[in-house]
Structure formats: structure tokens, C-alpha cells
């Protein structure tokens, strides 16, 4: 991930060099295309990073890690057969799910920290106007976006006991909501759905430009918590083994 950040930042000067041409070039893009890829002013620091890093790359990283983690949590134990020993221990099923969910949040938090720090350090070498607060705000929003889909994987895994299924459903949900989010500027009725879309909560208020987006963070956290509570209820009724 540090490598991706380094590469993206290394390319920024060459982008800026031809900024005038680039802006002209982008001007010529059809409005629809610009809207689809959420292209803003490519030549400004936040604009470049927002387009390159936070509209696709960072969500991809967080969602990939979170869904893999969530799907492995209980369904992975069942697939491997270790659920037998784990859930026969004198510990509650709810506490197993809770500790796996907390572990996921910690991992996502660590990745967010590393991502924010590497962007912060990286920007010192090249000339990007970017406050560290905004960097952390954007990384936190994106990490919590991952947590939403991670908790979906956790819930589906607790219901089905099948890791691959949990992974498929949660990644599918991420792709579907991403498409709805991306197409929203082009389609009127999709725009009405935006207030319910996790990608909108994470990126709609452009935390990279505007800093902490409290209401977006609250929606992301609340959704993660509610779905995780659902996973806890599901694991209580789960029958382990044949």
C-alpha cells in the first residue's frame, strides 16, 4: 500500500506540469464521464488525490481487507473445522463475534493510520497543498466504509457458516452500492438514493477538501454497529457442524 501511495504521489509533478493541458483536456470530457469518475480539478493536490486515491483505490483496499476479515471471522472457523473447539470453550458466542469485530476495526484503523501517514510524508517531497487533518478525516471515512461491508460479511458468515458465500455477498453489496453511487449524478432517481449509500457517507462531503464529516462518520459507524449486532443475534442461533 505504501508503494501505491509512493507511485501515485511520484506521478503528481508530471500531472501538475501539464496541468494547464490537463485541465483543458478534462474540460473536454463529457459531463457524464466526469461525474461518473467524480473527477474534480485534477491539477490541485486534493483534487488529484481525491480522484486517484479516495474514489477507488483506498475504498478498494479497505473493503477487500474488511470483507475478507469479516467472512473469515466465524464462517472461516466453520469452514476450517476449528469452530468445534472454539465454540465448545466456556466463552459466549457473542463475545467471539464481538472480539472478531473489534479486531477488524483495529486492523482497519491501523491501515488508515499507515495510509494517512504515508500520504502525509509523501506530500512533503512534492508540492501538494493538503492538511494532515483532512488526510486523517478522509482515511477514517474510508476505513469505516470498509467496516460497513466487513460487518455485512460477518453477518452473512454468522447466518450461513460459509466463508465464500459471505465474501461473495459482501463484495457484491460493495460493488452494487459503488455503482449506484457512481451513476447517481447521471440518473435522477438514483440521486434520490444517495442519502442511503455508504459511499456517499464516506466520500459525499469530500473530507479530503472539507475535513471531518461528522454526520457521514456517524452513519457509517451506526450501520456497522447495527449489522454487527445482527451478526451476534445470528450466531446465537447457529448450529455448528453437520
Amino acid at each position: 500500500m505504501v508503494a501505491i501511495v509512493a507511485m501515485l504521489l511520484a506521478m503528481y509533478p508530471s500531472v501538475q506540469e501539464s496541468a494547464a493541458q490537463m485541465d483543458q483536456f478534462i474540460e473536454q470530457f463529457p459531463e457524464a464521464l466526469k461525474a461518473l469518475f467524480r473527477i474534480t480539478d485534477y491539477s490541485s493536490g486534493p483534487g488529484y488525490l481525491s480522484t486517484e486515491m479516495f474514489s477507488a483505490m483506498a475504498p478498494l483496499i479497505f473493503i477487500a481487507v474488511a470483507t475478507a476479515w469479516g467472512a473469515s471471522a466465524t464462517a472461516g472457523e466453520e469452514d476450517k473445522g476449528t469452530a468445534d473447539l472454539l465454540f465448545a470453550l466456556p466463552i459466549s458466542r457473542i463475545s467471539v463475534v464481538a472480539s472478531k469485530a473489534i479486531a477488524m476495526i483495529i486492523v482497519l484503523g491501523l491501515i488508515a493510520f499507515v495510509l494517512a501517514m504515508s500520504l502525509f510524508i509523501g506530500k512533503a517531497f512534492i508540492d501538494i497543498e493538503l492538511s494532515i487533518t483532512n488526510l486523517f478525516a478522509a482515511c477514517t471515512s474510508t476505513a469505516l466504509l470498509g467496516a460497513v461491508f466487513g460487518s455485512i460479511a460477518l453477518l452473512v458468515g454468522a447466518l450461513s457458516g460459509k466463508r465464500a458465500f459471505a465474501l461473495g455477498v459482501s463484495v457484491g453489496a460493495a460493488i452494487a452500492t459503488y455503482l449506484l453511487y457512481s451513476l447517481a449524478p447521471l440518473v435522477d432517481w438514483l440521486e434520490n438514493l444517495l442519502p442511503y449509500n455508504p459511499f456517499e457517507w464516506a466520500n459525499g462531503a469530500q473530507p479530503l477538501f472539507n475535513g471531518w464529516d461528522i454526520s457521514g462518520l456517524i452513519w457509517l459507524s451506526l450501520t456497522t454497529v447495527v449489522i454487527t449486532l445482527g451478526a451476534m443475534a445470528a450466531i446465537q442461533n447457529r448450529e455448528f457442524g453437520s
Binding site: 476450517k80 473445522g81 468445534d84 473447539l85 472454539l86 466456556p90 448450529e239 457442524g241
Partner: protein
């Protein structure tokens, strides 16, 4: 409720577990006392593992109850399992850990310090806990399973096919270990389809088939239900007809002066009649549990022919 001193360690009360397509167990009533080994015998698919999973709360019974130490597990906190040691029939471990990592991980989740026991049991079973589980042979993985089941000195042990994969020397060591913890008052439920293992260890055995308990008796009683083959040696030729009419005697055959027959249960009548005819020598093969077991299962399936389509 006040659990009385006589509460069994494990008790099934008319416990049933049905699955959507298959039957698990049906109307199982059994108990295991402290200081006792109960063998759970039966062919594959008889419901042994289902019964065990119900004890550990991995699955919930469709009807009936399971009590641990007099406490109904369906109303109990998860703490009720803190005194159980469990060895699953299909043992799966965290392959990326070392044996020691795994044992420490398990003891932490139990909130019990087991370092000394881990050390003792590892030495006893000649097990190297520093190796990655991924690199262990099947026998060594099974040793690890045994160690994690016994390390916290549980008062109830639930062991599903415990010696599968262990070499004879380690099987012997395992039997010694079971005998020791029984002497200390632990209750042990031992499921197996290896008859000799149950024969060596168990005080009583329950025979399960098609999810039902066909018999639950002391080893002596089970053996007495077994079919034995007698060889009766006479000084002269004796007609087979005098034995064929006796109760419990079948397959009477004669070769020169020797009568061969199969006897179920009491042998005294056969022997009395034989002595009257000048019996010189009798040879009887001591039935092993396998024969006892087969005769009980066979009896049951011939009297329940409508059930035979469930045979897996």
C-alpha cells in the same frame, strides 16, 4: 435449584435432535457418573457425534434436555462448559500456530494457567510443542488434541474417537491417562467404533444405532448378551437333537465326537445336559464386544425391518 451430590456428570433426558434431511438422535436417555467411563458405541452415522455436540452446546436438542452436573445446559451460562475437556472426532486446528501457541491460546480462552500440565502431557506423549501444527503428522495432531482436552484438569471429558491416528504405544499411554483421571473422580464419555478401546476402558457402554440407544449396560452384562460358540467334546457320538431343543441354542452341528453350537445368554442348561452325556471338555470363545455389539444391532434391525432403508 440445588444440585444434589448424586447428580450425574452428564445426563441425557429423552433427548432428540432432528435435522432437515437426516435423523440425529431420538429419545436418548443416558447418564455418566463421576468416576466412571461410559463407552458410546455404534456404527458410523449412529448419532454418537450428534449426542456429543449437544453436550457441548454446538447444536441444540429438538426436544428433551441435557444436564451437566445437574444443571440444564439450555438455561445455563457458557461457564457451564468450563469443566469440560473436549476432543472432537474430526480434529481441526489452527495450522499456522505452533503446538505451544495453540495450547496457550486455548488455555487463555479458558482463563486457566496450564503451563505445567502442558509440559507434563507433552513429555508424556513424546510431543514436541515447538513445531508448527502445519508440519505435524496426523498422530502428532491427535496428541495435541488429547493434550488440549486434558490440560486444564477437567472433571468431565467428552472424547470423540480419541485414539484415531495414535500408534499402539500412545494408545496405551492414552488409556493410562484415562484410568488416572477416572481414579481422580472425573467422568468420561468415550465415543468409539473401536471395540477393544471401549472394552479396556469403559465401566459401562451404550450402544447407539439409528439415533437410538439399543442397550446401556455394564461390560459384563453386554458380554452376557453376546453370542458364544461352544465346542463340546464327548467320549462318544451324541445326537445333535438333544441340544437343538434347548433355549438360546442355535446352529447345532456335530463332527465325530464334538458338538458345535451357538449360545446366547445363560449356558448352564447346555452344560448340564452335556455333563449328563459324559462331557469331557468344553471350549468357549470369550465374546468380545464386537460380537456383543453386532448381535444387538442385528437383533434390532431384524425386529425393525421397516427401518432398514435408513442404513447408511
Amino acid at each position: 435449584m440445588a444440585p444434589t451430590e448424586v447428580s450425574p456428570a452428564i445426563e441425557f433426558r429423552s433427548t432428540a435432535k432432528f435435522y432437515r434431511e437426516t435423523r440425529g438422535i431420538e429419545d436418548v436417555s443416558l447418564f455418566v457418573n463421576f468416576g466412571e467411563v461410559l463407552g458410546l458405541l455404534g456404527p458410523n452415522g449412529a448419532g454418537k457425534t450428534t449426542a456429543i455436540r449437544v453436550i457441548l452446546g454446538l447444536i441444540r436438542p429438538t426436544s428433551g434436555n441435557v444436564l451437566l452436573n445437574g444443571i440444564d445446559i439450555s438455561h445455563a451460562k457458557d461457564h457451564v462448559r468450563s469443566n469440560i475437556g473436549y476432543l472432537p472426532g474430526t480434529l481441526a486446528l489452527y495450522e499456522y500456530m505452533t503446538g505451544l501457541d495453540f495450547l496457550i491460546f486455548m488455555s487463555r480462552l479458558r482463563k486457566k494457567e496450564c503451563a505445567i500440565e502442558i509440559d507434563q502431557l507433552s513429555q508424556r506423549f513424546n510431543f514436541d510443542p515447538s513445531r508448527k501444527i502445519h508440519d505435524l503428522s496426523r498422530g502428532n495432531k491427535q496428541k495435541l488434541g488429547v493434550i488440549q482436552a486434558f490440560m486444564h484438569s477437567p472433571s468431565i471429558l467428552v472424547l470423540d474417537e480419541p485414539t484415531s491416528g495414535l500408534d499402539p504405544l500412545m494408545q496405551k499411554e492414552f488409556e493410562n491417562l484415562v484410568n488416572e483421571v477416572r481414579a481422580k473422580g472425573a467422568a468420561i464419555l468415550l465415543s468409539s467404533h473401536v471395540m477393544s478401546e471401549v472394552e479396556n476402558l469403559a465401566d459401562r457402554a451404550a450402544i447407539l444405532d439409528h439415533g437410538r440407544v439399543l442397550a446401556c449396560q455394564t461390560m459384563t452384562e453386554l458380554r452376557s448378551r453376546a453370542v458364544r460358540t461352544l465346542e463340546l467334546d464327548f467320549p462318544t457320538e451324541v445326537p445333535t437333537s438333544i441340544f437343538a431343543s434347548l433355549l438360546g441354542v442355535t446352529n447345532v452341528d456335530r463332527k465325530d465326537n464334538v458338538i458345535f453350537c451357538r449360545v446366547v445368554g445363560d449356558e448352564s442348561e447346555v452344560l448340564r445336559v452335556s455333563v449328563q452325556h459324559g462331557l469331557r471338555r468344553v471350549r468357549s470363545n470369550e465374546p468380545n464386544l464386537e460380537e456383543a455389539f453386532l448381535s444387538i444391532v442385528e437383533d434390532n434391525s431384524t425386529s425393525n425391518n421397516f427401518d432398514s432403508d435408513h442404513h447408511a
